[in-house]
């Protein structure tokens, strides 16, 4: 099960108001190029062509804290191919509302994947929160 991989600059961007995870539009970006630690925004990625792929916008189900535990809950995202897509291996979440489309995190599928027409790629986010911030 791929784990969320942190983008180092995300915490600073979060602290300095780049992100409003409760209202901004989050999207996924697909690439077959391994992550480099200096990457901070969408333009740093070499994305695949999305011409045969459905919309990549993530629906935010909730953004709230309880007793100091913040949870960003995202709805599962189904990407449907209408032709050849890929290959890709890395799935990034980025903030499409932020000025520079800042990156939030990414997942490593573990191997390169190509889709054929009619095939779907489902990103199954954890129902209890795709991202949490814990205070001590």
């Amino acid at each position: 099960m791929p784990a969320f991989q942190r983008i180092d600059s995300f915490v600073e961007a979060l602290a300095e108001k780049t992100h409003n995870l409760g209202s901004d539009t989050l999207k996924v970006a697909l690439t077959n190029t391994a992550h480099t630690s200096t990457w901070t925004q969408l333009s740093d990625l070499t994305e695949i062509s999305y011409s045969n792929l459905s919309a990549r916008t993530i629906t935010t189900s909730s953004s709230a804290q309880t007793a100091g535990l913040y949870k960003l809950v995202l709805a599962d995202l189904t990407l449907t191919a209408t032709g050849a897509v890929g290959p890709f291996r890395y799935v990034y979440i980025y903030n499409d509302t932020a000025t520079n489309d800042e990156l939030i995190g990414y997942y490593d599928f573990g191997s390169s994947l190509s889709l054929v027409s009619g095939q779907t790629f489902v990103i199954d986010f954890d129902a209890t929160g795709a991202l949490t911030i814990v205070s001590p």
């Binding site: 969320f4 942190r6 915490v11 995190g105 054929v116 095939q119 986010f125 949490t132 814990v134």
Partner: protein
């Protein structure tokens, strides 16, 4: 993308079933828990067949089912040249590659329908079957003598068949990203007029819990949120 096998019953061959003109046959199958895509010019269906005479083109298709029987138009179809089938009654594998792609849904029964439309008695093709307590539970041999208008299930017989394709749904289940705010001490710093700095640390922000605490001979009094007044300072 490489195809993988999703349904397979290729054992126990001890009988056969014939096709020619209006004598059609089908084998039903039930997919497991994943939807698949078959076709795309890749291996889709495999049957074990032989011929007598020259049956001509053999049309193989996938149909939906209703009450366990084929129904409706072909979801996808292809033809193979039956005239080059082996004449050995032991049969040989016949691979069918569908050119379009069709999605078959999980936990759903479909039918592989095969017929020799230009065949006739003596110019016919056969599909090998297992007629001795076959163990495939997802379907059975189905027969029609009127070109697919009416169908009858032969529940105690299965064709030897395989269904190949790719997973329609690739799911990536991901774990949450967790960011921990640091639990390190939050420092309160005070610089006295003599430029000697004293530092008190509290474990929790906004909470100086020690009443009348002292360090380096200084006393903290008048504590309030985010502030502490230091009196009685002296250097040790």
């Amino acid at each position: 993308m490489a195809v993988i096998q999703f349904e397979n019953y290729f054992t126990g061959e001890d009988n056969n079933t014939v096709i020619h003109d209006d004598t059609w046959r089908a084998q039903t199958f039930t997919l497991g828990g994943s939807a698949i895509l078959i076709g795309g010019g890749q291996k889709s269906v495999v049957l074990k067949m032989f011929r007598i005479g020259s049956p001509g083109d053999i049309t193989v298709s996938i149909k939906a089912t209703s009450a366990g029987l084929p129904t409706g138009a072909d979801l996808i179809a292809a033809t193979v040249n039956g005239d080059i089938f082996t004449t050995d009654s032991g049969g040989a594998n016949v691979q069918v590659d569908f050119t379009p792609t069709v999605r078959l849904e999980a936990n759903t029964k479909y039918a592989i329908v095969f017929r020799a439309l230009t065949g006739s008695g003596g110019q016919e093709a056969y599909s090998l079957t297992d007629a001795s307590s076959p163990t495939y539970s997802g379907g059975s041999l189905i027969t029609s003598s009127d070109a697919g208008v009416n169908w009858s299930a032969v529940s105690d017989q299965d064709c030897l068949f395989q269904v190949w394709g790719v997973l329609a749904d690739v799911t990536m289940s991901v774990t949450p990203g967790v960011f921990n705010l640091s639990g390190a001490d939050v420092g309160l710093n005070y610089t006295n007029p003599g430029a000697t700095t004293y530092t008190w640390n509290s474990q929790a922000k906004n909470n100086v819990s020690t009443a009348n605490s002292s360090k380096n001979n200084s006393t903290v009094t008048n504590q309030s949120k985010n502030s502490a007044t230091v009196t009685n300072q002296s250097r040790s």
